[in-house]
């Protein structure tokens, strides 16, 4: 009896401890962002922001170039996700629905491309971009981010396209649709959830990308938020309140997106790309 009680308690107790451990850094970021400076640099930590203030957020938002950088990040992220979705949709359709020579090879190519070590290719990319006089521009960022997310987008979408029963498409074609019409009218609407889930991965990758923008864009006006955030603390001389406010602002869009799309995205990630 005693043993079974213990057996029931320890998993729950462990779960609570783990929950606390995983949540605390996220909580501490938001808590610090809302605390008045006096509470942040108190000798004993103030665990709950009792008299919350928006002063740190104001400071982060008023920082030089903040809105330019937001615009840059949003532009680069949205465009690269859009481009990769469009390109991937064509490719995924061919890979899922058609048989042709070289199909296997292509799938393997995209699987390998998905693992490309971009972090160590930045020097070569820097030289290519520089030789084309494109440093300090958002165009190369968009283009390369598109490529970074393309392989996984293709592999994931392939799974989603394959999941749409072929009969639906065929019956539409029997009813007089062309293949293109069948795709637009039948498959595409069914793919919408898949597209949303797939784009989450692209959003995260592009929104977070750090090494490439670090090396390509020295002009502050052309940088993105990750770079700004990584230099924020130095620039503001250990102003942790403002730094955490900046982190919160940067993290919030992704946290929200993730919570909405996580379930679908997880299955997409594992089923489409990783053989389990």
């Amino acid at each position: 009896m005693k043993r079974s009680l213990l057996g029931r308690i320890w998993p729950n107790a462990t779960a609570v401890v783990l929950f606390a451990g995983f949540v605390f850094p996220v909580y501490w970021m938001f808590a610090t962002a809302f605390k008045p400076t006096g509470d942040i640099i108190a000798d004993d930590p103030v665990w709950f922001p009792t008299d919350a203030t928006l002063a740190h957020f104001k400071k982060a938002v008023d920082a030089d170039h903040f809105w330019t950088l937001v615009l840059n990040s949003v532009t680069v992220t949205a465009l690269s996700v859009l481009f990769s979705l469009v390109i991937a949709l064509f490719a995924a359709f061919a890979l899922a629905r058609m048989r042709f020579r070289g199909r296997r090879g292509l799938i393997v190519t995209f699987m390998l491309a998905q693992m490309a070590p971009w972090e160590v290719m930045i020097i070569a990319i820097y030289m290519i971009v520089r030789d084309n006089d494109m440093l300090d521009s958002l165009v190369p960022l968009t283009v390369f981010y598109t490529m970074m997310v393309l392989p996984l987008t293709i592999l994931t979408l392939r799974g989603y396209v394959a999941a749409v029963p072929k009969e639906l498409e065929e019956s539409a074609m029997v009813d007089g649709c062309t293949r293109i019409q069948a795709f637009v009218k039948v498959i595409f609407p069914l793919l919408a959830p898949g597209l949303m889930a797939t784009s989450l991965f692209g959003f995260i990758t592009a929104w977070n990308e750090f090494p490439l923008v670090l090396i390509l864009n020295k002009d502050v006006e052309k940088q993105t938020l990750p770079l700004w955030l990584s230099q924020f603390q130095t620039a503001f001389g250990d102003d942790w309140g403002a730094t955490m406010a900046a982190s919160s602002l940067f993290a919030l869009p992704i946290l929200i997106l993730f919570i909405f799309l996580q379930r679908k995205a997880v299955s997409g990630l594992t089923d489409g790309a990783v053989k389990g």
Binding site: A94, I128, T146, L150, P226, F258
Partner: protein
């Protein structure tokens, strides 16, 4: 989007939570229609943009990287747009210096420690998720998803704050627990403690992926297998080793492989934490290539390091890569 594939629900089993996306088709999609030339070209046309992008944006940088690694490319050559080939000088310089081998060793140890921690704890958390009741499971899942979703740079900044020398909450807790020398400890002062913070950060962010997916995988294990095992007199532990583990093995292999790649090429966490410092001591291969190539403006040398880094990564993952490629060949 609830499309049923050939999978048949087993009566008496709690709703099949199996995935929302059935596996790719296995040889059931014969190309339909007349073998006209236009038809035959269609798949290639559809794939053309993706292929073009891959060749130009991934293939070309790789080739370019190879070419750069045989060039003498310092600020002078860079500014005057000179191409000076210098054979294998870069490789000779990198490989003969002791630095490179230290960094390789450090990268391998760093990756191994992180991946072992991620896989062990991640698996345990995943199994715990499978054991918990509904409410507690949801609670833990929320925690995991939050950690998972935190953008890397934001997470790094938060960890800098948690481990800050003054007013950092970690030092305060350690001090209160009786370890008073930690009161104003500078975590970024030594190689070991900097790595400790980075490792904690990476492990914290990577566990959710392993745990949640492992939990999802356990829900697909047919319950009959456990019943059969217990009929054969297997206890809980035996049931685990003879049913759970074999069932999860492919998943564990795949995840380990992905984690190795992700940890090995981790850049943002290490760089944003302390720029590879103190004194270059936390530079792993990607950081080393960046610091030598871009920081010190020896681009040719940096390209050589990059190329060697890719080789090391291939060597580490080759075993699994071969397995995957073979499996794909059989299945597609």
């Amino acid at each position: 989007m609830s499309v049923q594939t050939e999978g048949t629900d087993t009566a008496g089993e709690p709703a099949v939570r199996k995935a929302r996306v059935p596996a790719p088709p296995r040889g059931d999609s014969r190309s339909t229609g007349a073998p006209s030339r236009r038809r035959a070209a269609t798949p290639y046309l559809l794939l053309l943009p993706a292929l073009l992008a891959t060749v130009v944006l991934l293939g070309w940088p790789l080739v370019k990287n190879g070419m750069l690694s045989f060039q003498n490319l310092n600020p002078r050559q860079l500014i005057q747009h000179l191409t000076e080939w210098n054979g294998v000088d870069n490789y000779r310089e990198v490989l003969s210096g002791g630095d490179f081998w230290h960094v390789v060793e450090r990268s391998v140890v760093f990756t191994a420690v992180n991946v072992v921690l991620i896989m062990t704890i991640g698996t345990l958390v995943g199994l715990l998720l499978a054991r918990l009741g509904r409410k507690m499971r949801l609670l833990l899942l929320v925690g995991l998803v939050l950690a998972w979703a935190m953008p890397v740079i934001a997470a790094t900044t938060v960890y800098q704050w948690l481990f800050a020398q003054r007013f950092g909450v970690v030092n305060w807790v350690l001090d209160k627990l009786g370890w008073h020398s930690m009161a104003d400890h500078n975590w970024l002062e030594t190689q070991f403690s900097t790595f400790a913070v980075v490792t904690l950060l990476i492990v914290w962010q990577s566990i959710p992926f392993v745990a949640i997916n492992l939990y999802a995988a356990t829900t697909t294990i047919p319950r009959e297998l456990y019943e059969a095992a217990s009929l054969d007199g297997a206890g809980a532990w035996k049931g685990f080793t003879s049913v759970t583990l074999p069932f999860l093995r492919p998943f564990l292999y795949a995840t380990t492989f992905l984690e190795v790649i992700w940890v090995f090429k981790a850049f943002a966490q290490i760089f944003a934490m302390n720029q590879g410092g103190p004194d270059h001591l936390t530079e792993t291969l990607p950081i080393y290539a960046y610091v030598e190539g871009v920081g010190n403006q020896h681009f040719g040398l940096g390209a050589a390091i990059s190329f060697l880094t890719i080789l090391v990564l291939l060597a580490i993952t080759s075993y699994y890569l071969r397995m995957v490629l073979k499996q794909e060949e059989d299945e597609l």
